[in-house]
């Protein structure tokens, strides 16, 4: 007695047998070129999307509210960067100056510069803070102490911030549409390749320096792309894997030193 299932199986077998082998060969031979072609088109298109289109879509472009001339200000003030970006009495870092600091000099416009006049009329006179777009701002979950780096480790501002003090105008601020942080954090190079220490400021970049300072062996950390997870683990659990500590000063070794 044959059931319905059995019948279905029999039918399937019959159909397979009805397909003669030679017809398959013919098809295979005939489309080999186009398969390769489509493969190449796929590769090229996706490479283009990944390398060219994606970065364009990922970042939006914004203009700073005021075109700021760092070079001019650095020339005018006495104490370099620290004249405006200073440490407060309690040791915390002031970061981008508040209006109150600017007003010290710019209560009224000091010259003819249209940007300065705009600054005075739109912000100083109205008592409004300037909504600066901060290229160096890390995501909120990152804790960073300027005091530990500048005061204790005596690092130069340039090491991380680059020669921003020499710029004569504000560049376009590119904001990552997903994370909301500046493009400068990942770096302008979408592949994450950097030439200068200040070109990007991701965890690996911090790690690079910390590893160097702590164990004087940079090599163990792998490149940012391939080694992302390995590096993360090495930094998160330094003792277990390589005996390294995350904080040079405190010799602490927990994620929460930097990740709040």
């Amino acid at each position: 007695m044959s059931t319905n299932d059995d019948k279905a199986k029999e039918k399937a077998v019959a159909e397979t047998e009805n397909h003669p082998g030679h017809s398959e060969d013919k098809k295979g031979k005939g489309s080999g070129g186009s398969i390769l072609l489509f493969f190449l088109v796929g590769i090229i298109a996706s490479l283009l999307v990944g390398w060219v289109v994606f970065p364009k879509l990922l970042y939006s472009q914004k203009k700073q509210p005021i075109n700021f001339n760092h070079a001019f200000h650095v020339e005018t003030v006495d104490e370099g960067c620290a004249s405006c970006h200073f440490f407060r009495e309690d040791g915390s870092f002031s970061g981008v100056p508040k209006l109150a600091q600017c007003t010290g000099c710019h209560e009224e416009a000091q010259g003819e510069d249209p940007e300065e006049i705009k600054f005075v009329t739109q912000y100083v006179e109205k008592g409004r803070e300037v909504p600066w777009l901060v290229c160096s701002r890390q995501p909120n979950c990152v804790f960073f102490s300027h005091a530990a780096h500048v005061e204790l480790a005596k690092m130069e501002c340039v090491t991380c911030h680059g020669p921003i003090g020499e710029s004569t105008h504000s560049k376009i601020y590119e904001e990552n549409r997903i994370t909301g942080v500046s493009r400068d954090i990942w770096g302008r190079n979408i592949a994450g390749i950097k030439r200068n220490s200040w070109d990007r400021m991701k965890m690996e970049d911090c790690a690079e320096c910390h590893a160097e300072a702590a164990a004087k062996e940079v090599s163990e950390l792998e490149g940012p792309m391939e080694g992302f997870f390995n590096n993360a683990v090495k930094i998160a659990f330094p003792k277990s894997l390589s005996g390294r500590k995350t904080s040079v000063q405190t010799q602490n070794e927990a994620c929460f030193v930097c990740h709040k």
Binding site: S31, S34, I35, L36, L37, F38, F39, L40, V41, G42, I43, I44, A45, S46, L47, V49, G50, W51, F54, P55, L58, R88, D90, S92, S94, G95, K98, P139, N140, C141, N176, I178, T179, G180, V181, W186, I190, A191, G192, K202, M225, F228, K260
Partner: protein
């Protein structure tokens, strides 16, 4: 070229291969990881400069100095101000949670006008101009009809510039009905007035006392100035000062005291007289003081000796007579003994007989206006505004009897009798209150006898709340004109409850107003302006800050800088000048209240056998039970033996529970002559058998989702019991029935 299935697949594979060789997947993974850690609702610490601003807490009558830690413009933490004369660096859990009131969801964001039925919580935003014009129109109409006296204001405090502006407004407008919410302040003020002839606040030199007998005062529950009391308690512990706590329930205070004497509730006054009896009998009182500075002693002592023997007191209070004798002796033999009263946090008035009995104990020991004793602290004298020039309407209105009857022949010595107002409103037709203003108070929640209150409420045609928060009163008002909350405004705090030195704290704005609110001081000034003369000319100030500046004169700058003013070298009047009674002496039996001693006990409402048990309230520092409700942080600290999910637990002695057949955690119905509620039962050996104890401060209907609907409001189950002598609400509990369900 046709794309068949295979070509398509190879295209996809090529695409996949290409994508892996591009930064796209890696970059996206990284970005998504960052995105997921920075969702907008994730709390992020503020960035910016850290600063500290000093101000005064206004969440209870404690008058604590607080220091607000700010990062940039955001207030992030409240601490007690170090070196402050009242709280010296300490803070209570409510003061600590103030930021949740500032930034939390209970704020009233702008003037709101009711659109639905009262209490429906449907509102329309209106502009300040529109709202004030509306109020002014209503007021002008009432004044035009010669009904100015039907405007009343319920205020949580008096004496400071804002309540005084309100009082002044009512005077110039023509209404005597400025009514302060009840508290032990009422009874202590009256005690000082009757026995010492003083218009003063009570002050306790607690830090210097060496033996404390507390007749139910919640020293660790929030009585007096709470933080000061916590600190004093620690100092007492260090110095070996003995504390005897007398109350029917093992409260925090009782648990931390040296001796807890459970007593039948409502009989504390009798115990005080029982102690007096022993002291008199054994001649342990301070003869120097009693002999020269008191009057009526012979008559009073005769009465006490005859009527309050330890045997009788034992029968009444349930405390055995040897304990009474021992306690009286230890009290009298201490160098600086101090007796205090006012139940729990002192949020209710209480019977004058009881207060006078306790105060007499202090007088027997001569510790009136003396180191470690009870001081009469003169009220703050910073307000010297010119007399209000009343027109005919105002004078006529001011001559009307107050709606609460305070100051009439019957209640000659009472200043405020808010509990009488609902009844009076219900008795009149039309309502004797045509417009009600509510300032720093939440009477819809705190007044007892809800049925009476709701009926009266419905009869008031216009209710205006100045609350910063959506409390029950605001929710049941017609218009809300939200005040800046205390961290956003200037206001003088004219006393710290129970503090023994003249003190004024200054609340200062530590952050700018977060919403479209207006200082009530300014709202009053603008209303006066809108009404025109003669009301307007009673307010010669541009704005409230101008008024403060003018009021404090050359002290204003210093007050702003320091944040408080205290007479640290204040000495209470020398005994020859301290008593302003007719006899210039301390009166054991003031002429005006001869019956007070007979009235030391007030009966609870309700009769047996319908109500076999007695329900008493208990206060807890974790439950704000005044005009402010618990902020979320505080309600989280309430243990599940008090509040389990939304169910309130009442405390019952295991024996009582057994006789009722109720076990731990089981639901029950609690019924009193005033109401009924479903509760759960918590068995507790620290409550005397025959009693049911219920926490205060729960059962809110308004505020936010963290508080509304949790537990039962004790005030829904009790009604006022009027003290015949003083008119004050002397209710301390109510008879009740608890049945299993």
């Amino acid at each position: 070229m046709k794309m068949d299935r295979r070509s398509f697949l190879s295209f996809v594979i090529g695409g996949a291969a290409g994508t892996t060789l591009s930064p796209l997947p890696w970059k996206l993974t990284d970005d998504l990881a960052i995105w997921s850690q920075n969702w907008p609702w994730t709390p992020v610490p503020e960035k910016g400069e850290v600063s500290y601003a000093n101000t005064t807490c206004m969440l209870c009558p404690g008058g604590c100095g607080i220091t607000v830690r700010k990062v940039g413009d955001r207030a992030v933490k409240i601490e007690g101000t170090k070196g402050h004369p009242v709280n010296n660096g300490g803070i209570c859990i409510l003061g600590l949670s103030g930021l949740q009131l500032l930034y939390g969801p209970t704020r009233v964001p702008s003037p709101l006008r009711r659109t639905g039925e009262r209490g429906e919580n449907r509102w329309q935003k209106v502009s300040w101009d529109e709202a004030l014009a509306w109020v002014a129109e209503k007021l002008a109409d009432l004044r035009g009809k010669r009904l100015s006296h039907t405007v009343a204001c319920i205020s949580g405090t008096d004496g400071g510039t804002v309540p005084r502006l309100m009082e002044r407004f009512l005077t110039a407008f023509g209404s005597p009905n400025f009514i302060r919410t009840p508290s032990m302040r009422d009874s202590y003020e009256m005690t000082l007035h009757l026995m010492q002839g003083a218009q003063a606040s009570i002050g306790f030199d607690i830090e210097n006392a060496d033996f404390i007998v507390s007749f139910g005062s919640g020293i660790l529950e929030g009585w007096g100035s709470p933080v000061r009391m916590f600190r004093a308690n620690s100092v007492w512990k260090e110095n070996g000062v003995k504390v005897v706590q007398i109350e029917p329930r093992l409260s925090n205070t009782a648990a931390k005291s040296d001796k807890w004497l459970p007593i039948h509730p409502g009989t504390e006054g009798a115990l005080a007289l029982g102690l007096a009896h022993v002291i008199l009998k054994e001649s342990l009182y301070r003869k120097d003081f009693v002999g020269t500075h008191t009057s009526g002693f012979d008559r009073w002592s005769k009465e006490v000796v005859e009527e309050w023997t330890p045997e009788q007191v034992e029968t009444v209070t349930g405390i055995d007579k040897s304990t009474i004798v021992d306690l009286a002796k230890s009290f009298a033999n201490a160098k600086k003994p101090l007796a205090i009263c006012g139940r729990g946090k002192g949020n209710t008035a209480g019977g004058i007989g009881e207060f006078m009995a306790v105060h007499s104990l202090n007088a027997l020991m001569g510790n009136i206006n003396r180191k470690g004793g009870v001081w009469a602290v003169p009220g703050s004298d910073h307000i010297h505004w010119p007399e209000v020039e009343m027109d005919a309407v105002a004078s006529a209105g001011m001559q009307q009897t107050r709606i609460d009857g305070a100051g009439t022949d019957k209640f000659m010595h009472a200043r405020h009798l808010l509990h009488r107002v609902p009844e009076m409103i219900n008795a009149g037709d039309p309502s004797l209150v045509q417009a009600l203003f509510v300032l720093d108070a939440n009477p819809y929640y705190t007044l007892s006898d809800k049925a009476l209150l709701k009926k009266a409420w419905a009869k008031i045609p216009f209710i205006l709340s100045f609350s910063s928060f959506m409390d029950e009163t605001a929710q049941n008002a017609d218009l809300i004109l939200p005040n800046h909350m205390y961290l956003e405004r200037y206001e003088d705090v004219p006393y710290a409850e129970g503090f023994n030195k003249p003190f004024i704290g200054l609340a200062k704005p530590v952050v700018s107003p977060q919403f479209d609110t207006l200082h009530t001081g300014d709202a009053i000034l603008r209303l006066a302006k809108a009404l025109g003369d003669p009301v307007e000319k009673a307010f010669p100030w541009e704005d409230y800050e101008g008024c403060l500046d003018d009021t404090f004169g050359d002290q204003w700058e210093e007050l702003q800088e320091i944040g408080y003013r205290v007479e640290s070298d204040f000495e209470p009047g020398s005994r020859n000048t301290a008593f302003e009674t007719a006899s210039r002496k301390f009166e054991f039996i003031p002429e005006e209240s001869k019956d007070a001693a007979k009235n030391v006990m007030v009966k609870a409402e309700g009769e047996e056998p319908a109500y076999p048990l007695v329900l008493i309230p208990y206060d807890s520092p974790r439950l704000a039970s005044g005009f402010i409700g618990d902020p979320p942080f505080m309600i989280k600290t309430v243990p599940d033996t008090v509040l389990k999910e939304n169910d309130l637990l009442v405390e019952v002695h295991p024996k009582t529970a057994q006789s009722l057949g109720i076990s731990e955690g089981k639901p029950a119905v609690l019924k009193t002559p005033k109401g009924e509620a479903r509760v759960r039962v918590h068995l507790f050996e620290g409550i005397m058998p025959g009693l049911v104890a219920m926490p205060t401060g729960l059962g809110h209907q308004a505020y936010d989702g963290y508080l509304a609907g949790k537990g039962i409001n004790f005030n829904d189950l009790i009604g006022p019991v009027e003290d015949e002598v003083s008119g004050l609400d002397a209710a301390w509990g109510i008879r009740a029935k608890l049945s299993r369900v």
